[in-house]
């Protein structure tokens, strides 16, 4: 007794121009599909469902770690099994109180799997595929009694998602991009090895906040910190991520193939479908991109615990370390950014030819001049290639420029006139970010300040100082959050010496092709000797300038700075100042030193001039000794400070 219902939604379909092409492409496949689809089965008796639910309770399935992971439950109270799911989306749950009740959710999920009044892709069997697979495993009777549902959308999606293996992807930091300051992680789903060379066509799985264009301001960044943005999983072709990170954001990408089996990978992909359009709250520090990916890996390989150590902060590079510690990483490959490639090519071009790069980029006709044609073929080709890449770099993130497009095309034509290149030489790196020192830091030190001795204790939430062990980091990039230093003096007083909320110092050397700004911003509270007394002042200090790299491992810089300070010794509550700095940073290998002259003058004509020397000696990856010496001059006083610190970096 089969009854066909023609839904009103189908009417436009019937009115389509039934030309041969449509008939061939769409109508016939649709018809075939219709005819071969079996009708949904009859509803199973209530007793079967009750029996399965009772079995689930008897086996305590709702407390099973895999169920807890699949529903993203987090235990809020270790003593009485209170759970709350980190998913903030009612569609993710079948039970009314599913967000906080794993047992009810499991019962209702079983119930939902048996529903016969819902069909196709809206059926729980299609929406919660991973839960279904897992329950079938745990409750073998489920398999035989379930109504049959066809999940067309899901199957179509699966056909386009490679599910053979998984690669963890880490777009590293880029200096002049504060938003990249901690890096990022995403997951890449790869096809079988016989699709070799097709990483571009792999699928990237990314967890991020969904922001609207009007939100582009620092104010909204705070919203992100406090969880004001909905977070979603986003699935795109990997080449879009290459464009985004390697090109637009100038970030090198590290790729770590994982040893997840095909079965584990498929389990993860199955669960990923359950998270389609599902909303989590996005928190910048802990429940961020990296944290959610760890949860996916926990679903993929039951029994591994990756998220537990990241309750407070999940800094992407630390999550890579945690995956490495769990034994999942098999290799590391490096995908240099557009800028890295350009700098690499530039280094290969003899200095005498450097002036030709911009000249050819601006006028490809110059390749006919004798100055060019007299060069050896290999140098000619190099020049054309870098000129082309330089042009494209200039166009990154801008709208198409007709003249530049024409010149780019012309240069490609010239490049094409040289013999084909089997493999393009590309920069390599063994400076793996996860091999760098850990993110948190504890320091203990001793020193003398204005002729009184002190002992110092410091804690830093994250991340890296200019002088810290450079392995795994970029030279000239300092990003610190939450640094606090306490000092105990001989008179037994204990004082807060310094509290930096944010401290970013970005030194990007200018080169032939690039002229970036270097800049600095830091804010917090610090001690300043003013009017005969050491005072705790609040301040915001920032500025910009230039940096150059005269020789390898050396950066010299100069900046103009502005400061506003709240100082109890000043007449005004908030006093502005202008300043400048001149400094040099040198990496000796196992040691990094910085020398800086700086000063500022307030609008009340008070001034501070100081010379700073600091050097960090690396003992091992997470241990170092740092010394510093400062000399400060003010209108009526001058004084010195010396200190030595032992620095320990930890997870």
């Amino acid at each position: 007794m089969r009854k066909t219902i023609i839904k009103p939604q189908l009417l436009p379909f019937l009115f389509l121009r039934l030309n041969m092409r449509y008939l061939k492409n769409y109508f016939i496949p649709a018809l075939t599909l219709f005819l071969t689809t079996t009708p949904c089965s009859y509803a199973t008796s209530l007793e079967t469902i009750n029996q399965l639910q009772a079995n689930a309770v008897a086996n305590q399935l709702s407390q099973h770690p895999e169920w807890i992971n699949l529903l993203h439950y987090e235990q809020t109270n270790w003593f009485n099994n209170d759970y709350v799911s980190q998913v903030d989306d009612a569609r993710f749950f079948n039970a009314e109180d599913g967000k906080t009740n794993p047992t009810a959710e499991l019962s209702e999920t079983i119930n939902a799997f048996f529903k016969t009044d819902i069909t196709g892709d809206n059926h729980a069997q299609c929406k919660f595929v991973a839960r279904l697979e897992w329950l079938k495993e745990k409750l073998p009777d489920l398999q035989t009694s379930l109504p049959e549902v066809t999940c067309k959308e899901y199957l179509e999606w699966r056909a386009n998602i490679p599910d053979e293996s998984v690669t963890m992807v880490f777009p590293a930091y880029h200096l002049n991009s504060p938003s990249s300051m901690f890096g990022h992680t995403l997951i890449r789903l790869d096809p079988p090895a016989d699709r070799q060379g097709s990483e571009w066509l792999s699928i990237a799985v990314n967890f991020g906040a969904n922001v609207t264009d009007g939100d582009n301001s620092l104010f909204y960044a705070f919203k992100g910190l406090s969880g004001g943005y909905p977070g979603y999983f986003i699935v795109t072709p990997y080449f879009k991520k290459i464009k985004e990170y390697n090109y637009r954001e100038k970030r090198d990408i590290w790729e770590y193939p994982l040893n997840l089996t095909a079965e584990e990978t498929r389990r993860m992909v199955t669960h990923l479908w359950e998270l389609r359009d599902i909303q989590f709250d996005y928190y910048f520090f802990d429940e961020n991109c990296s944290y959610r990916l760890l949860e996916l890996l926990e679903v993929a390989r039951p029994g591994i615990d990756l998220t537990n150590e990241f309750k407070l902060t999940a800094i992407p590079v630390d999550t890579v370390r945690s995956i490495e510690d769990a034994g999942l990483i098999t290799a590391a490959t490096y995908r240099p950014s557009q800028v890295t490639v350009l700098e690499y090519l530039l280094a290969k071009i003899p200095n005498k030819n450097h002036h030709l790069i911009e000249a050819i980029a601006n006028d490809p006709e110059l390749t006919r001049s004798s100055e060019f044609t007299d060069l050896p073929t290999i140098e000619q080709r190099q020049l054309v290639e870098i000129s082309y890449k330089y042009l494209r770099y200039q166009q990154t993130g801008t709208v198409r420029d007709e003249a530049i497009a024409t010149r780019s095309h012309e240069l490609l034509g010239i490049l094409n006139s040289y013999p084909a290149q089997q493999t393009a030489p590309t920069p390599t790196s063994n400076n793996q970010p996860e091999k760098g020192h850990y993110s948190k830091r504890l320091t203990i030190g001793y020193g003398e300040e204005n002729k009184s001795n002190y002992a110092e204790l410091g804690y830093k939430l994250s991340f890296h100082n200019l002088e810290d062990n450079e392995a795994g980091f970029l030279q000239g990039a300092q990003i610190n959050l939450g640094n606090i230093q306490l000092r105990a003096y001989q008179d037994e007083s204990i004082r807060l010496q310094q509290f930096d909320v944010v401290d970013i110092f970005s030194l990007t050397p200018r080169t032939r092709l690039f002229d970036p700004l270097s800049w600095r911003i830091y804010t917090g509270a610090e001690r300043q000797y003013t009017a005969g007394k050491d005072r705790l002042v609040a301040h915001v200090t920032g500025g910009a300038g230039v940096a150059y790299q005269p020789i390898n491992n050396n950066i010299i810089y100069s900046m103009l700075l502005a400061r506003i300070e709240r100082n109890s010794a000043f007449d005004n509550n908030i006093t502005p100042a202008l300043g400048a700095s001149l400094g040099m940073l040198h990496h000796f290998g196992n040691s990094t030193a910085r020398l800086e002259l700086s000063g500022e003058e307030f609008d009340n004509h008070e001034y501070r001039h100081r010379g700073l020397y600091t050097q960090n000696f690396v003992i091992s990856r997470n241990h170092s000794i740092k010394i510093n010496a400062t000399r400060e001059e003010q209108r009526s006083i001058h004084f010195s400070e010396f200190g030595i610190n032992y620095q320990y970096y930890f997870f």
């Binding site: 196709g120 067309k152 998602i161 097709s198 991020g208 801008t398 497009a405 094409n416 290149q421």
Partner: protein, 157 residues
């Protein structure tokens, strides 16, 4: 006991019929070479690794307005328009990842990839005659070039 026909299946199948025909603007087939990447980097989107209002989920139909050519894997030729700039560069110099990706889109066996690289390199000026060439033109010339090669002809359907 109730009997239900899963008519949603038919609905879902027919939705493909309303997708844009190949070459439609949603696919980017009309994009010119060096179309560029518009707009500044969105500060907040990079901070939170998010997107601006587009929750794409790897669906090949529906989300990008492209219909799927079932004979080509990975969502088919529509991808070529997205990687056309790098593809042109790789064709010009005779190797590269975008070239590999296009080879995979056409299901070219590993042993024929060198031929693909060589043949496209020789025909750079045919495939990319001007800076104004569109993705649709590129695909069409590429397939003409492939068809005229003994080893590559079989990959063009």
């Amino acid at each position: 006991m109730k009997k239900v026909i899963c008519s949603a299946v038919l609905l879902a199948a027919s939705s493909g019929a309303f997708a844009e025909a190949p070459g439609g603007p949603g696919c980017g087939w009309g994009n010119m070479l060096f179309e560029g990447q518009n707009g500044p980097v969105h500060f907040l989107a990079t901070t939170t690794n998010g997107t601006s209002g587009n929750k794409t989920f790897g669906m090949t139909s529906g989300t990008n307005g492209c219909s799927i050519d079932g004979k080509l894997t990975y969502g088919g030729k529509s991808m070529i328009s997205s990687i056309m700039d790098r593809f042109s560069e790789d064709v010009a110099q005779g190797s590269g990842e975008a070239l590999d990706a296009v080879a995979v889109i056409y299901n070219i066996a590993p042993e024929d990839r060198a031929t693909f690289a060589a043949v496209t390199h020789e025909n750079f000026k045919v495939i990319f005659p001007t800076a104004q060439v569109t993705a649709e033109d590129v695909i069409s010339s590429l397939e003409t070039v492939m068809k005229s090669d003994a080893r590559l002809a079989k990959y063009v359907i």
